[in-house]
Structures are given as C-alpha cells and as structure tokens.
C-alpha cells in the first residue's frame, strides 16, 4: 500500500507512456468537523465553506492542488463520516466517492485521512476502516496547535509505525505543517513499512484497536476545553440560556436594521451620484434612458442593500464559527420534536435565514428521508436575505422609527423581527401538518456532536463576507440587470409618435393592469403587480423593478423609492405586501434545488402552489383587517 502507482492490478503500467504526467485523484476523508474543508482550502487555494459544527460539507468538491512542481493532482473534499457504513445522504457521497461509484469522479488513487488530534482515540476508529481500503494514505492529525496548547502529546512517528502509513501533525487553520501534505502528494514523504492490520468485524473491536494504537503512540488526552464548559454553563443554563438567546437575537435585528443605516445612506448617495453623472455625460437619447432609467435605477436600488446583507451574514458567520449553532439546535430540539421534526432540522432552517438553497443542501445530514423532505419543504418560509431589501424598503416607508422596548429594540427593528417570527411560525405549522399527514413517520433519534467553542478568525469571517458580497453583486449584475433591461424595453413600447409611451400605456403597464383584478383584493395596484411578476425570478428583483418603474415616471424622478411607494400603497396594502413576501415562493434557484434534491417535480410544484395560495390568503386577510 506504500506504492503510489500500484493501486490496481493488470497491465496498465505497461501501456502508460513513460514520461507523461500522471493524473491523480486524492480524496480528503475524516470524521465530521475535523477540519477537512479547511485543509482542502489550504491545499487548493479555493474557498469552500467552513464552520464550527458537524456536517457543513454535504457534497464533494474537486480542486487542483497548488504545488510548485508540475504534478496534476485533483483534491476531492468529502463530507464527514464516522465509518464506512453510511446512514445519511452526505455520508453516502463519501462512501460512493471512496469506492469509485460517484458518476464523473474516478476512484481516488490516494487518501488524506484528517483526524482531530484533540480527539484521537475516538477518531482513530475510522482509520481502521480507511486503511483497509488499501489505498496510499496520509494520516493528518489536525488541530495540533490546539492539542499542544491544552497539554496533550502524541508521537507521530510511533503512530506511523503502528498504522503503516505516514502521519503528520498539522494545523490547517494556521497552515502549520501543511507543507508535509504537499510532500505526500508529490511522493516525497517517507512511508513506513506496511503493517498487517487486524481484520476488525464490529465497532467495539475497532475501538479497542484504536485505543491500543493510540496508547502505543504515546497519546495523552489534552485537558478538557474549560472555556467550552464555562460558556455552556451560561448558554445552556435553564434561566440565562434563553435570556442570552433573546438578547442576541434582539441585538442582531437592531444592528442589522439601524447599524447598517449610515453605510446604506452612503451607498445610496453614491448610486444617486453615479446616476446623475451618467445622465449628464450621455446625450439625451434612448441609450441614456436605457442605461440611467432602466439599468441603473434597477440595479442601484438593489445594491443599496449590500451593507445590510453583509451585516446579517457577519452575525451568521460568527454564530456558525463560534460553535453556538450546535447549542441552538439542542435548545430547539424540544420545539422541533413537538412538530414531529428533530433538532438536526434546525441547523438547515437556521442557515435558511441566509439563503434557502444551501439550507436545502444541508438537509442531507438528516438520516430520515421523510424528515428530510419535510425540512426541505419548510425551509423557504425562513426569512432569507433576499427578502431583507423588500422588508427594509417597505418598513422604512410605512413605519415611523420610535423606541419600542427601551433603546434595545426600535419599532422598525421590531416589525422586522415579527416578520422573521411570522416566517418561522409558518414553517413550524407547515411541518406539523406534513408530519401528521403525508410525511408521518416514527420518531427519529437525535444525536448531535457538540463542537468546542472556537474564536472565529478574522480570515474565515472576512473571506466569507467577501464571497457573499461577490455573490450579491453578481446577482445584481446578471438577474437584476437582465430583468431591468427587459422591463425597460417592455415599458418603452409600443412607441407613441416615435417616443416612449406613458408607462401605464406601455406593454409592461398593460401586463400589470391585466393582473390588477387578481391583486386588487390585496391592496396592490398595477405597478406592484409588475413587481410581483418580476420577483418570481428572485424576491429582491421587485425592489429593482420598482426602481425602474418609478425611475421612468418623470414627475416622480426626484422623489425616492420610499416616497413613491407611500403614494401608491395604503398601510394595509403595505402590510399585505410584507405578508405576501413572507410566504410566497418567489425564487427559481430554490425550486431548482428542491427538484434536484427530491428527484422530481412533485415536491417543488406542491411547494410552489401551497406557498402561493397561503401567501394570497394571508395577504388578503391582512389587507381586510387593516382597511
């Protein structure tokens, strides 16, 4: 097993050209939350998402190793596994990839086994499974800095001799020792004499072997993470736990709403300045109208929300990287059990606050198929960041800012918070209905490993925010730009006497007025109607659309979007619009990912219909009650 080229029998070595570069595939495997993706990012220079809880990676990712020599090596990052007996979709991915059953991915020629050095005797259990695959293997003891800091020791050389595979101590987070992994990839690492591994039948035997091996390797446990215990005695305290939870949530909302204001006003001023500049620079013709009134009003109206979205993501990143998320799942388990789901469903639901697409991917860690479908179906009710611009715009236009609960929570932040709660209630109620009817199943057990608390690093959080900013701007530059252009065209035809018609007589206006009878009972006029149509692509598109529509109305040009909305909506209509956006499924990407993950059109169609009907009825009730 020390021979890197001998991983197959037969004559293929003879047919291989002598000096051609050998294309190789090396898989990174290991238990959940052992730092595989962090190492993957180090080796490939890519930016796969990492966080401090088990089950962040749910699909395989491939990247080219960054090595000084010409070796052409693909590194495959895999979801965490406890053994080679998969129990959930994400574990199945790792199992299939290691056995060469993954479509489009060759069976790996080598394995990097990442184990948490602070947890060695337990993590070594997996080593027996992996080494029995008889692939060239490097054992990486990750978090070595943590082990040493907490007074633990291990003799890497002795462990290597016990396992018959090279062992290196690494800190993937700081990069310490990662060079040795590069040497393994290029074949420049000393491989100990292979050993005959015992045939291990069951888990207790594996465990006993692991225990013996770690003893031979002089492994001493690090002292328990004291800070984790201290923090848990607060966060899981019967009284202080919930108090801290409520304080954290309140602060997040207040900061996201008011803290981002100055920055947003800055961006708004910049957007306005650029728009004005464009108007002055360009000659007065149709191209200026397209660029300034169509594209820039649409895209600019959405870009304004970038600071707010980044602030929300900053909080989510801090929660994920610190390890608090796993505690939140434990606290929420009781409530989740009442609606027939389990605490593990809570992690995807929490990440749905950022975006439903990764949340639906994250349901792969849920073992029970029915629980998984139920979680997929309710995830889009959670208030994703695309709703944030819509909520902020309407709340700022219709709700005056006053202190609500002292200085902690203002009325606007409270309104925002209640919309988040509304989405959560809809999700939980839907889960209850589903789990007591079509998706009824036996109670599934809840098992969740608690990661130790870690200080979020500036690098990890910073990179994540940069990725989010890039993704947001990309959407503004593609989907929203595209919709804005199409809308501008629809709003400019048919030409009347060679000039653009008043917007209500344009094609867009005609379309909006065609659906007006349907949405009138909700308190929306035809302009909002156009926004509802375009927001089927993605929710925040409505903000861009309204920006374009009002941008093309000469008399309202100088007035902001908020003022324009106040003319067109009553308070009842505004609340109805908020409720509609809280419930309706206006996101093509989510529908696409639901179709892929559930393997057909049945569930996405059901979801779209159910959410749409619910949105319509609740918006109607809200409008009636308030007018």
């Amino acid at each position: 097993m020390s021979d890197c080229h001998g991983c197959g029998s037969g004559p293929q070595t003879a047919t291989r050209p002598a000096r051609a570069t050998v294309h190789r595939v090396v898989a990174i495997v290991g238990p959940p939350n052992s730092g595989k993706s962090t190492l993957f990012n180090r080796l490939t220079g890519l930016r796969q998402k990492t966080a401090n809880f088990p089950g962040v990676t749910v699909e395989h990712h491939v990247g080219k190793a960054h090595l000084p020599s010409h070796h052409d090596i693909d590194i495959v990052d895999l979801p965490g596994i406890y053994s080679l007996n998969p129990r959930s979709e994400d574990e199945q991915v790792s199992h299939d990839a290691l056995h060469g059953k993954m479509p489009g991915l060759r069976r790996p020629d080598g394995v990097i086994l990442v184990l948490d050095a602070t947890n060695l005797s337990r993590h070594l259990t997996l080593a027996a499974n992996i080494l029995s695959l008889r692939l060239p293997t490097l054992v990486v003891l990750n978090m070595a800095d943590d082990l040493h800091k907490r007074g633990g020791t291990v003799d890497a050389e002795a462990l290597a001799n016990e396992l018959g595979a090279p062992v290196v101590l690494v800190s993937a987070l700081t990069g310490e020792g990662v060079n040795a992994v590069g040497r393994f990839l290029t074949g420049g690492i000393a491989v100990p004499r292979p050993v005959e591994l015992p045939v291990l039948q069951d888990v207790p035997a594996c465990r006993q072997w692991a225990r013996q091996v770690s003893r031979e390797a002089g492994y001493t446990h690090p002292t328990p993470p004291l800070w984790t215990r201290r923090l848990d005695s607060v966060f899981l305290h019967p009284f202080w736990g919930p108090v801290v939870f409520v304080l954290v949530v309140g602060t997040v909302f207040q900061t996201v709403f008011t803290g981002a204001r100055p920055l947003m006003e800055g961006v708004e001023a910049l957007v306005g300045w650029v728009g004005g500049g464009l108007r002055l620079m360009l000659p007065d013709n149709w191209l200026r109208s397209l660029l300034v009134d169509g594209v820039w009003s649409g895209v600019g109206a959405v870009i304004v929300f970038l600071p707010q979205i980044l602030m929300l993501f900053l909080f989510i990143a801090l929660l994920e990287d610190s390890g608090y998320l796993a505690r939140a799942a434990v606290i929420a388990d009781k409530t989740m059990a009442r609606v027939g789901l389990q605490g593990k469903s809570f992690i995807p639901l929490l990440s749905a606050y950022a975006c439903a697409v990764p949340a639906i991917m994250a349901t792969r860690t849920i073992e029970s198929k029915r629980d998984r479908i139920a979680t997929i179906l309710i995830a889009p009710f959670m208030t994703c960041s695309a709703r944030l611009p819509v909520y902020t715009l309407i709340i700022a236009a219709f709700i005056p800012e006053k202190p609500f609960i002292g200085p902690l929570l203002g009325t606007r932040a409270a309104a925002m918070l209640s919309l988040y709660v509304l989405g959560f209630i809809a999700a939980v109620a839907t889960a209850k209905v589903l789990k007591s009817s079509v998706l009824k199943s036996e109670k599934t057990p809840f098992v969740l490993e608690m990661p130790p608390y870690r200080m979020p690093t500036l690098q990890s959080v910073g990179l994540r925010l940069m990725d989010r900013a890039a993704a947001f701007l990309k959407r503004a530059g593609t989907v929203i730009l595209g919709v804005s252009v199409v809308l501008w065209i629809l709003a400019s035809i048919p030409l009347v006497n060679g000039a653009a018609p008043p917007i209500e007589h344009s094609l867009a206006g005609t379309l909006g007025r065609a659906i007006e009878p349907v949405i009138k009972p909700l308190g929306f006029n035809w302009k909002i109607g156009i926004g509802l149509i375009t927001s089927l692509a993605a929710r925040e598109v409505i903000v861009g659309t309204l920006g374009t529509i009002y941008g093309m109305e000469p008399d309202k040009d100088a007035v902001g979007l908020q003022k324009a909305l106040q003319n067109d909506l009553t308070l009842g209509g505004a609340v109805a619009l908020l409720v509609f956006f809280a419930f309706a499924m206006q996101c093509m990407s989510t529908l696409a990912v639901v179709r892929r993950e559930t393997g057909g059109w049945k569930w996405p169609v059901l979801q779209f219909t159910y959410m749409g009907v619910l949105a319509y009825i609740c918006a109607f009730v809200a409008f009636r009650l308030l007018s």
Partner: protein, 88 residues
Amino acid sequence: MQLSFKKRSVKPGFRTLADLSENEEGLVERIDLPVDFAHRLMELGFLPGHPVAAARSAPSGDPRVFRVDGTEIALRRETARHILLRRH
C-alpha cells in the same frame, strides 16, 4: 459482557443514562436499540465498558449533553433511556 440489541422492555433494576444527574458518571452496559442506531452510538463512543458522564441539558431538561471519550454529544431522553448502565 453481553451485547444485546433486542427490542424489549427495559429490565427493572438497571439504571440508564437518563437517570444520571449532572456531572455523574457511569459505565455503559449495553444499548437496547435497533442495531443500526446502536452502531452509530458506538461509533460515537457509547461502548460497553466505557465511562459516560452527564453534562448540561437544554433549558427544558431534554435533550442532554453527555461527555464520552473527550467529546460532548447531545441525546434525547428517549434515547438515553435505552442505554443501560453497569451495576456497581
């Protein structure tokens, strides 16, 4: 030491993981749960003869975090009830 995965009523007289009070430790005797799930628990460290200590629980008392082999794992009471402890 006998491993049993038969689904049957818990023998009276046996204490279970659910009976441990906070910071109390016990040795696992056996897991009375379907094989598949018992395996996962064993992979996580709930093995016959191994010590397990009860740690903090969620504010409502359920689920509870257990310390096993240097890590902490949260289980519901209904699961903990089926992990029997060795008699002293």
